[in-house]
Amino acid sequence: MSADATLDVVVSGTESDSHTWNLVFLQLLLEDWGHRVENLGPCLTGDELAAACRKSAPDLIVLSSVNGHGESDGLRAVAALRACAELADTPVVIGGKLGTGRQLQGGAGTGGRRGVGGGHVPAAVGGRILGGVPRPSEFREFEQFFQLVSAAKRDRLAGRTLEDLRTTPAS
C-alpha cells in the first residue's frame, strides 16, 4: 500500500441516536488504520456538529447511526454541514443501521448517489452511504473510501510542497 496521508477524522453520532458503542468501535478502527480521530459522541444537533467540525476542520467526517432514524437524521446533519462554507467540500460518510425497515439493513452501498430506501441521496451528501451492517471483515468499501481521501490529501500536500519548492528563489 502506498504511504497515504494520515487523516484528521471527526466521528459523530446523529441527532436522535444515543447509541455510543458504534462510535467507540469506529474510533478504535480508524486509529488502528493510522488516522487521528476526534469522537464527538452521540446526540449532536446539526448546529453542534457543524460548530465542532468548523473548529477542527477535519479531512473527513464519519457519521454513524444505528437506531433506525439514520436516513432523516443523516440528511439533516449533512444539510447543516453543507450550510457552512468551510465544510462545503469536506467528504462525509454515513453508515450503520439507517432505517427501521429491511431495505436499509442489506448489503453495503456502493456510490454516493445510490438510491436508499426508495429515496435518493441528494448531491449535497458528496460522500458515501454505507447502508448495510458491515462486519469488520466487510469494511472493504469503507477502507477504500478512506484510501481515496487519504491519497487525495497526500497529493494535495505533495502539490503544495512542489509549489513551495518552485517558488523558493534559487540563491
Binding site: E15, S16, S18, T20, G41, P42, C43, G68, S72
Partner: protein, 401 residues
C-alpha cells in the same frame, strides 16, 4: 420478598399488584420491548402480548425523537408515514393513546411505558393523560446512555417527572417506576455498579413520592456472577426499601446480541433461568431479530412464550419445603446442607429457604397451553406438586387474555 417488613401491600390492580399476585402463584411475569409508531400496529402488539401463552404485561416503547424531546420531527414522521423506532406518545394525542389501550390495558393486563429520556416531564404528562401509570428510567440511567444532558439537569428533570407520576397516588392509582440502572450502557458495565445504581435510583423514586418500584438487573456474561449480583441487589433492596412495594426485574442480555436464531433463543432461555433461580418476579425478553432489526409482533410473542416455557421448566421462583425422604436431584434453589450439589451458578441460599424442592423434575410438561395436561409423576417422588405443574390435578391457566 420482604413481606414482614412491608406494611404496605401492593395495591390490587396496579402494576406492582399484578406482579406480586403472579409471584405468589409462582409465575414469572414476562414482558416484551415493543413499540410501533402506527397506533393500529401498537394496539395489535399489545393484544398479541396479552394473548400470548404466558403471564404477561404490556409495553409501549417510545421512539428516539420523543426520547430526545424532538416532537416536531416525530409529528413530521407521522404526517409523512415514515415508520419510527417506537411509539411517539407525545406526538400522538391522549385520545389516540387511550384508544390504543382501550379494553386491553387494565388490572389483568397492566401496560408500562418504556422510554429513555433525560427530560421526561412531557412524556409522563402524556402517560398520565392516557390513563397509564407505569414507566421506567432514572436520573442517571436515562441520562448517560441516552443523551448529552448534564447529570445535574437530568436529576432536576427527574424530580419534576416523578412529581407528575406521584400525583396519581393522590387520585387512588398506584404509579410504578422501574430503575434502568441495572442496564446502563447495555454491556461492559461491572455488575457492582449496576446493582448500586439500581438501588440508588429506587431510593430516588421513593424520595420523590413513589411507593411501588422495581429494580432492574441486566443479564451479563456469567450466570454465576449474575446470580450473585441479583442476590446482592435483593438484599440491599430488602434493607433499604422497607415499606415500599418492590420487585426485581431481569433484562435479557442488553449488549450485542447473537446473530443466529438458535443463539438468540439460548441466551433468552438462560435469562429466564436466571430470573427463576434468583427469585426475580419479572423478565423483559429479547427476540431472535435483536441483532438485526426491530422485531415483528409475532417474533415478540414467540420470545415471550419461549421465556415462559424455560421459566416453567426451571421451576417456580418460590417453592415449598422438601418432603422428608425425597431423594430427587436438588434444584439450584435448595439450601440444605449438601451445598456441594448446588450448581456453581446458584445463588447463595436465602435465609428462609430451609427446604428443597423437586419442581419440574417431578413431572413432565406436556403441550404448553393445554388446560389440563396430564402427565405422570416421576416414580418415587413424594414431593409436593408445584403450582406450575399441570400433572394430575388440572389447573386453570392464568387468564391473561
Amino acid at each position: 420478598m420482604t413481606a414482614a417488613a412491608r406494611p404496605l401491600l401492593p395495591q390490587a390492580g396496579s402494576f406492582g399488584g399484578f406482579v406480586a399476585e403472579a409471584r405468589r402463584a409462582g409465575r414469572l411475569v414476562v414482558q416484551p420491548r415493543m413499540g410501533m409508531s402506527d397506533p393500529h400496529l401498537m394496539r395489535e402488539g399489545l393484544l398479541a402480548t396479552r394473548r400470548a401463552d404466558a403471564t404477561t404485561v404490556g409495553t409501549i416503547t417510545l421512539d428516539s425523537y420523543t426520547r430526545v424531546g424532538d416532537h416536531r420531527e416525530a409529528r413530521r414522521a407521522l404526517a409523512t408515514g415514515v415508520a419510527l423506532n417506537g411509539y411517539p406518545i407525545v406526538a400522538h394525542s391522549a385520545a389516540i393513546t387511550r384508544a390504543v389501550t382501550d379494553r386491553i390495558a387494565g388490572a389483568s393486563f397492566p401496560v408500562q411505558v418504556r422510554h429513555g429520556s433525560a427530560a421526561p416531564q412531557d412524556i409522563f404528562e402524556a402517560v398520565v393523560a392516557a390513563g397509564l401509570s407505569a414507566s421506567e428510567g432514572g436520573p442517571i440511567s436515562y441520562c448517560l446512555p441516552y443523551s448529552r444532558t448534564p447529570v445535574a439537569r437530568s436529576v432536576a428533570n427527574w424530580e419534576a417527572a416523578c412529581a407528575v407520576l406521584a400525583r396519581l397516588g393522590a387520585e387512588g392509582a398506584e404509579p410504578h417506576l422501574e430503575t434502568f440502572g441495572g442496564c446502563m450502557m447495555g454491556q461492559l458495565c461491572p455488575p457492582s455498579l449496576l446493582v448500586a445504581l439500581s438501588v440508588l435510583e429506587a431510593l430516588f423514586f421513593r424520595q420523590h413520592g413513589l411507593r411501588s418500584v422495581s429494580l432492574s438487573y441486566a443479564q451479563q456474561t456469567h450466570p454465576g456472577q449474575d446470580a450473585e449480583a441479583v442476590t446482592a441487589l435483593r438484599r440491599l433492596a430488602g434493607e433499604l426499601l422497607v415499606g415500599l412495594d418492590w420487585h426485581i426485574v431481569i433484562y435479557t442480555y442488553m449488549g450485542v446480541y447473537p446473530h443466529s436464531a438458535g443463539g438468540a433463543r439460548l441466551l433468552l432461555e438462560e435469562a429466564a433461568r436466571l430470573a427463576v433461580r434468583t427469585g426475580a418476579a419479572r423478565l423483559v425478553v429479547k427476540t431472535e431479530a435483536e441483532a438485526h432489526r426491530i422485531p415483528t409482533i409475532a417474533e415478540n410473542v414467540r420470545a415471550l412464550e419461549t421465556a415462559a416455557r424455560a421459566a416453567e421448566q426451571a421451576g417456580p421462583a418460590v417453592g415449598p419445603s422438601r418432603t422428608p425422604g425425597c431423594t430427587r436431584r436438588r434444584s439450584p434453589w435448595c439450601t440444605p446442607s449438601s451445598a456441594s450439589t448446588r450448581t456453581s451458578g446458584a445463588p447463595s441460599p436465602g435465609p428462609s429457604r430451609t427446604g428443597c424442592w423437586t419442581s419440574r423434575t417431578a413431572c413432565t410438561l406436556t403441550t404448553p397451553g393445554a388446560p389440563a395436561a396430564i402427565s405422570t409423576r416421576a416414580a418415587g417422588c413424594t414431593g409436593p406438586r408445584s403450582a406450575r405443574c399441570r400433572c394430575a390435578a388440572p389447573q386453570a391457566r392464568a387468564a391473561a387474555g
